[in-house]
Amino acid sequence: MRVQVQSAPFDLGAETAAFAAAVPGAGAVVTFTGLVRDNSGRLSAMEIEHYPGMTEKAISAIAAEAVTRWSLTDALVIHRHGRLAAGEAIMMVATAAPHRGDAFAAAEFLMDYLKSRAPFWKKEIGADGVEWVAARDEDEVALKRW
């Protein structure tokens, strides 16, 4: 299991290939990548703040739970912070399991939990001003299915 919190960009292809090459016994690898979305066409950047120390701990706890619950062969979480441009990759998760059902479910679980339980805060910097992204009620509801 690897958890990485960083400001630098990551290479999605290289990370996925390296992950898939090091999961003996796994028959399935699922990856998810989150991108900076520009809803209005007027976003100039997204600023992601985090809580150093707690971030790594919270993500590691969530990833460890996913590994146990779905008997994963391995899991990877990379999450960026700092200033990102529209279209840039914010984060990725990868899960490996003997069968795809567990790999898919664990990846969804990881995403639902990272969304509202990992201490990151997004701020949109646009042509029309600066705004903190509000948490959505649906994200909290999504946790209940687990």
């Binding site: 969304k115 509202s116 339980r117 201490p119 805060w121 509000a134």
Partner: protein
Amino acid sequence: MIEVLYFAWVRERIGLPRERVETRAATVADLVAELSAREERYALAFADLAALRVALDQELASFDAPLAGVREVAFFPPMTGG
């Protein structure tokens, strides 16, 4: 002494990222009341507790949690990771 940290708009409203606070507050709610009584900017930041989250020593907690033995308290809005 407790280290108090603020993130996102809570940090912006209060105007600083962290500070050391001398307090005898028994619970998080007591600490919030003490801070809010200090100055308007604190009162504004803590006006709606439903819009805030708190972590004690980097673990999510509730506002009625005791502060005994806690070294670090962080206040922030609901998280928006992923």
